[in-house]
C-alpha cells in the first residue's frame, strides 16, 4: 500500500509517495533523498551517528519510521551551513579537532545543536559530557567535542546578546 507523506527537509517541503511503511527516516534521507550526510552506525539507537533534529528535537533517525513522522520538520547536517558560512558548531568542531574519521561527526554536530537548544547543560563541561553521551566516537575525539561545544555555545550566546542589544 502506498502512503503519501510530506516532510519539510532543511527548509524545503518534500512530498513523497512511500511504497513501504518500513522505511525509517534515516533510510529515507540516505537512500531515497540522497542526503547521505546523516550516517548509519548501528541502526539500533545505540550510537547516535544518525542524529537529526525533528521538530527541533534531536532524535535517532534509525528508530523513527518515516510514515509516522508525516508533517514533521527535519533538519540534517546538510541544512546547517549558509553557503560558505558554517554554523558556529561546525566551525568549532574544525577548530577544536572534534573529530578524526568524521563518520560520527554529523550526528555529533546535530546532537550538539539539539543539546544547546535544550538548554539543560549550560557551560558545565560535566553536563555537556553527559548530554553528549548518546553519540559514540570510536576515534576518541570527546575532548575536542566538548571544547567545541563550549566554544560554539559561547559564540552563539554572544551573537544572541549582540542581536538583542
Amino acid at each position: 500500500m502506498n502512503h503519501s507523506i510530506s516532510l519539510t527537509v532543511n527548509g524545503a517541503r518534500r512530498d513523497f509517495v512511500l511504497d513501504d511503511p518500513r522505511v525509517t527516516l534515516l533510510d529515507l534521507l540516505r537512500e531515497r533523498l540522497h542526503l547521505t550526510g546523516t550516517k548509519k552506525g548501528c541502526d539500533r539507537g545505540q550510537c547516535g551517528a544518525c542524529t537529526i533534529l525533528v521538530d527541533g528535537k534531536r532524535i535517532n533517525s534509525c528508530l523513527a519510521l518515516a510514515i509516522s513522522h508525516d508533517g514533521a520538520d527535519i533538519l540534517t547536517i546538510e541544512g546547517l551551513a549558509r553557503g560558505d558560512q558554517l554554523h558556529p558548531v561546525q566551525a568549532a568542531f574544525i577548530a577544536h579537532d572534534g573529530f578524526q574519521c568524521g563518520f560520527c561527526t554529523p550526528g555529533q554536530i546535530m546532537s550538539a545543536i539539539g543539546m544547546i537548544k535544550e538548554a539543560q547543560a549550560g557551560n558545565d563541561p560535566e553536563r555537556i559530557r553527559e548530554c553528549m553521551s548518546g553519540n559514540l566516537c570510536r576515534c576518541g575525539a570527546y575532548v575536542g567535542i566538548v571544547d567545541a561545544v563550549l566554544d560554539a555555545q559561547g559564540r552563539m550566546d554572544e551573537t544572541n546578546q549582540r542581536r538583542s542589544a
Binding site: 568542531f93 574544525i94 579537532d97 574519521c101 570527546y142
Partner: protein, 753 residues
C-alpha cells in the same frame, strides 16, 4: 562526487606553513557539512541493495535455505548462495601471500564461526533485501563449537603477529628467577575485542563489462586491489577503488574482507551496481577482531629492586581455518632492562572468525599485563612504580643489546609525572579519598610501540603555473593523513600548502602501502619527501644548466626550494620561480617519482621504538564498585611531530582505547553456542563522552636521525599501550584490589566494604 576534493574554505585555519604546524584538518569542511563521501554514500544509477544472511551456528553446515520465501518478497531480485553465484578465478582458501586471509564467500556450505556469511539477498530496496535475508530461515547441521582459551590442545604457533617468532629469549630466566629476592607470578586475562569502527564495512561495486568500480573503505588500496584482481581474474588496470574517507579502521579495514568480496560478486551476479553494508552485529565475525589472551608473567627482582628475570607467556586463539596469533608477549622485549627475558606463545583453535590486527596488536594486550605485573613487582619491592621503572630503565634494547635510534622515555617520565603531580602519590593503596568519600587511585604505565616502515611510492609534479601536485594512494582513517601528508608534500616541493594539489585515496595512484603499524605517515611521508626532492632536483637541473637562468652554474645542490622558487644557496638574491623555469623550458609540467621504505642497515644497527609514560587517576565508589577515570596525562616521544593538533588527537584516541581496554570492552561469547551475546553497541561497551575526562598530552621533543629521512616514528597505536595498564594500576591503588581479568568489572571490586 566520491573523489577526494579537499577544500580551503574560510574555516580552514592555518597557523603557518607545513611540517610542524598545527593545521586544522583539510577535510574538515567536508566532514562537518556532511559532504565527505564515505563508501556507503554512493548511489550509482540502477543500484541494488545487498544484505548478507549470516550463520547463527558456530560450527557445522547449512543444510537448507528457503530461497523461495526470500524471492517471494516483493522487491527481491536474486539470492546468492553457494549454488548460485559467480565463479571466482581462484579458490579463496588459497593463501597467495602472507597478507591474504581466508574468507567465506559462499565457496561451500560449511560454517566455521557464528556470523559467517551464508547467503546474500539482492533487492530493489534496503527494506526488501533485509527482510529477504531474514526469510531464508537457514537450517543447520550443528557440531559442538570450540570456544574459549581452553577449547582444545594447545600448540606453539610458527609465528605470531606478522612474522614475529613465537618464542624469544635472552639470558637464563630460570636462574634469574631463582636468584631473585622478590618474585611475582601472576596470570592476566584479556577478552576478545572488536574494532567497531563507527562506519560499518561497506562496498558499492559496479561492473562495466570487465571493468570494476569499487567504493570501499580500505586501509590498503593496493593490497585490496590485488586481492580483487586475483579473485575475479581481471587485470589490475581494470579495477578502480575509491576510498577517499574511512569511518575509522583500526586494523579491520586493512585487508579485503569476505563481505566486500561478496558485494563484488553480487554486482556481477545481477549485472547492476550493488551496495552491501554490514549490519553492526555482522561486524562481530568476518572482519577480524582482537583475540583473547591469558598471559602469565613471572618476574624476579633483587633486594634493590633491580629486575633479575622476566618471563612472559601468552596463550591466545586463532580460528579453525587460518592463522593470526596475537603477539602479546612481545611487549616484554623492549621496555625493561632485565638480564634475562623469555617470551613465548601458545594457542588453541576456536570457532571464531580469524583474529586480526587491531590497534596495537600484541602491544595493547601485552602492555596491560606487563604494566600490571611491573606495578605488582614495584609494590612487592616497596618502591614507587615510577622509581621502579627508572631503576630498570633500558639504556639499550634488552633482548638484543642494540642501541635505540632515539629514546626520550626518561623525559616522558619526568614531564608526565610533573604535570600529573605524581610525587604526592602514597605508596600504599586505598589511602586517598575525595570530599565525597570516593576512593582515589593513581596509576602509571609505560607506553611503547615499534617505529615501523613499509614501502610506498609517490609521484610529484610541478606545473607551469608554479603549482605542485603530489599523488599517492594513501589512506586517511581519521588520523589526519590528508593534512599531515600534504604538509610533508608541501615542504617536499617547496610550496605553500595551498599551492599544492594533493591527490590521494584512490587505487590508480602510486601504492602507499598499508595504513597500519603506525607507519603510514613515516612510509608515505618518506615517499612523498623523496618524490618532492626528485622533482625539485629535475627542476634545478633545468635551471642551473641553462645560462639564461640566474641560477646557471649553481649546481643541483647549490639551490634550495622555497615558496615556489629555487634560490641560490650562497646568494639568496639570485632566484627564479618554478613557473619561470618551466616556461623557458617550454614544459607544461615536470614530474618525478620517489619511494619510501625502511633502511635495512639502520634497522640492523638500531632498535627503533616510540615511547611514552601515562599517568591516570580513577575514582572508585567504595561500596558500589563503579569506576570512573578522572584524569589522565600522557607524555609521548615519537620523533618528529608533523602536525601537533592531529598528533594530540591520535594520542587522545589511543588513551581512550586504553581506558576502554581496562574498564569497558569485552565481547561475551556463549560457551555453548559460540555466539557473541553482545554483538551491538548497546552492550559491547566503548566509552561514551561522560567516561572521558579532560586528557592531557605532552609530546616530548625527540630527534631521531635513523628511523627515516623525516625522523617520524608514528603515533597511531602507542597511545593505547601504557594507558590501559595505567588505568588498571590506578584501580588497584584506589581499592587495594588487584584485578587480573580485563575489563575490570564491578563485582571484582565489591569484595571490600
Amino acid at each position: 562526487m566520491p573523489e577526494l576534493n579537499l577544500t580551503s574554505a574560510p574555516a580552514h585555519l592555518r597557523h603557518g606553513s607545513n611540517i610542524g604546524q598545527p593545521l586544522t584538518r583539510r577535510d574538515g569542511i567536508l566532514k562537518v557539512t556532511g559532504r565527505a563521501t564515505y563508501a556507503a554514500d554512493n548511489h550509482p544509477q540502477g543500484m541494488l541493495f545487498a544484505v548478507m544472511a549470516v550463520s547463527t551456528t558456530a560450527r557445522g553446515r547449512v543444510v537448507s535455505l528457503d530461497v523461495a520465501a526470500a524471492k517471494r518478497h516483493p522487491g527481491v531480485v536474486d539470492v546468492m548462495t553457494p549454488d548460485h553465484k559467480p565463479q571466482l578465478a581462484i579458490d579463496p582458501e588459497i593463501k597467495t601471500n602472507p597478507f591474504v586471509f581466508r574468507m567465506e564467500v559462499l565457496q561451500s556450505d560449511e560454517v566455521r564461526y557464528a556470523n559467517q556469511p551464508i547467503a546474500v539477498v539482492i533487492a530493489e530496496t534496503l527494506e526488501a533485501a533485509t527482510e529477504g535475508a531474514a526469510l531464508l530461515a537457514p537450517r543447520y547441521e550443528t557440531l559442538p563449537p570450540l570456544v574459549g582459551l581452553d577449547a582444545g590442545e594447545s600448540f606453539a604457533p610458527p609465528v605470531v603477529g606478522v612474522g614475529n617468532p613465537a618464542e624469544s629469549h635472552h639470558g637464563d630466566v630460570e636462574a634469574g628467577l631463582a636468584a631473585a629476592d622478590k618474585q611475582i607470578d601472576a596470570t592476566y586475562e584479556t577478552p576478545p575485542q572488536y574494532h567497531n569502527a563507527m562506519e560499518p564495512h561497506s562496498i558499492v561495486a559496479a561492473w562495466n563489462g570487465d571493468n570494476l568500480q569499487i567504493d570501499m573503505p580500505t586501509q590498503g588500496l593496493a593490497l585490496s586491489l590485488a586481492r580483487v584482481a586475483e579473485l575475479f581474474g581481471i587485470a589490475h588496470e581494470k579495477i578502480h577503488i575509491r576510498s577517499p574517507f574511512l569511518g575509522g579502521g583500526f586494523g579491520s579495514k586493512g585487508l579485503m574482507a569476505g563481505p566486500q568480496v561478496l558485494g563484488v560478486m553480487a554486482a556481477k551476479l545481477v549485472g547492476k551496481p550493488v551496495k552491501l553494508v554490514l549490519r553492526r552485529e555482522q561486524m562481530y565475525g568476518p572482519v577480524g577482531h582482537r583475540a583473547p589472551t591469558r598471559q602469565r608473567l613471572r618476574i624476579g627482582a633483587d633486594a634493590e629492586g633491580r629486575l633479575t628475570a622476566l618471563d612472559h607467556h601468552a596463550r591466545t586463539v586463532s580460528s579453525t581455518f587460518d592463522d593470526f596469533f596475537e603477539p602479546a608477549a612481545g611487549a616484554s622485549h623492549t621496555l625493561y632492562a632485565a638480564p634475562a627475558i623469555r617470551t613465548s606463545h601458545d594457542a588453541v583453535r576456536v570457532n571464531t572468525g580469524t583474529p586480526l590486527f587491531m590497534r596495537a596488536p600484541g602491544e595493547a594486550t601485552g602492555s596491560i599485563a606487563l604494566e600490571s605485573a611491573i606495578d605488582e613487582m614495584a609494590f612487592a619491592c616497596g618502591m614507587d612504580p615510577l622509581a621502579f621503572r627508572l631503576k630498570n630503565y633500558a639504556e639499550v634494547e634488552p633482548m638484543t643489546g642494540r642501541p635505540f635510534s632515539s629514546k626520550a622515555l626518561r623525559a616522558c617520565y619526568e614531564q608526565g609525572a610533573a604535570r600529573f603531580g605524581w610525587a604526592k602519590r602514597p605508596l600504599q593503596p586505598r589511602q586517598m579519598r575525595d570530599d565525597a568519600g570516593l576512593l582515589v587511585g593513581w596509576g602509571m604505565g609505560t607506553a611503547t610501540f615499534p617505529a615501523l616502515m613499509f614501502q610506498a611510492e609517490a609521484r610529484a609534479a610541478i606545473r607551469r603555473d608554479g603549482s605542485g601536485v603530489m599523488e599517492i594512494g594513501a589512506h586517511d582513517m581519521g588520523q589526519g593523513a590528508w593534512t599531515a601528508l600534504a604538509q610533508i608534500a608541501a615542504d617536499a616541493v617547496g610550496l605553500d600548502i595551498d599551492r599544492l594539489d594533493f591527490k590521494s585515496g584512490t587505487s590508480d595512484l602510486p601504492d602507499a602501502g598499508i595504513a597500519g603499524g603506525s607507519a603510514h605517515t613515516a612510509t608515505a611521508g618518506a615517499a612523498i619527501h623523496s618524490a618532492g626532492a626528485a622533482v625539485i632536483g629535475k627542476l634545478a637541473d633545468l635551471a642551473t644548466s641553462d645560462e639564461r637562468s640566474p641560477l646557471f652554474g649553481a649546481g643541483n645542490a647549490g639551490v634550495i626550494a622555497r615558496d615556489g622558487r629555487l634560490i641560490r644557496r650562497d646568494d639568496e638574491s639570485r632566484s627564479e620561480s618554478y613557473a619561470e623555469i618551466l616556461a623557458r623550458a617550454g614544459l607544461a609540467e615536470i614530474e618525478a617519482r620517489g619511494t619510501g621504505a625502511a633502511n635495512p642497515a639502520a634497522m640492523e644497527q638500531y632498535a627503533m621504538h616510540a615511547h611514552g609514560a601515562v599517568f591516570a587517576e580513577v575514582k572508585v565508589d567504595p561500596e558500589l564498585g563503579q569506576v570512573r577515570l578522572t584524569r589522565m596525562v600522557g607524555a609521548f616521544a615519537a620523533g618528529r611531530i608533523v602536525n601537533p593538533r592531529m598528533v594530540q588527537s591520535q594520542l587522545f584516541g589511543g588513551m581512550i582505547w586504553g581506558l576502554s581496554f581496562a574498564l569497558h570492552e569485552e565481547a561475551v561469547t556463549d560457551r555453548r553456542s559460540g555466539r557473541i551475546m553482545n554483538a551491538n553497541l548497546g552492550e559491547y561497551h566503548i566509552p561514551v563522552n561522560a567516561d572521558v575526562p579532560p586528557l592531557d598530552v605532552i609530546t616530548v621533543e625527540e630527534h631521531d636521525p635513523h628511523v627515516n629521512a623525516l625522523g617520524i616514528k608514528g603515533v597511531g597505536e602507542i597511545g593505547i599501550t601504557g594507558s590501559a595498564g595505567a588505568v588498571a594500576n590506578a584501580v588497584w591503588h584506589a581499592t587495594g584490589v588487584r584485578v587480573r581479568r580485563f575489563p575490570i568489572r564491578i563485582e571484582e571490586l565489591l569484595t571490600q566494604g
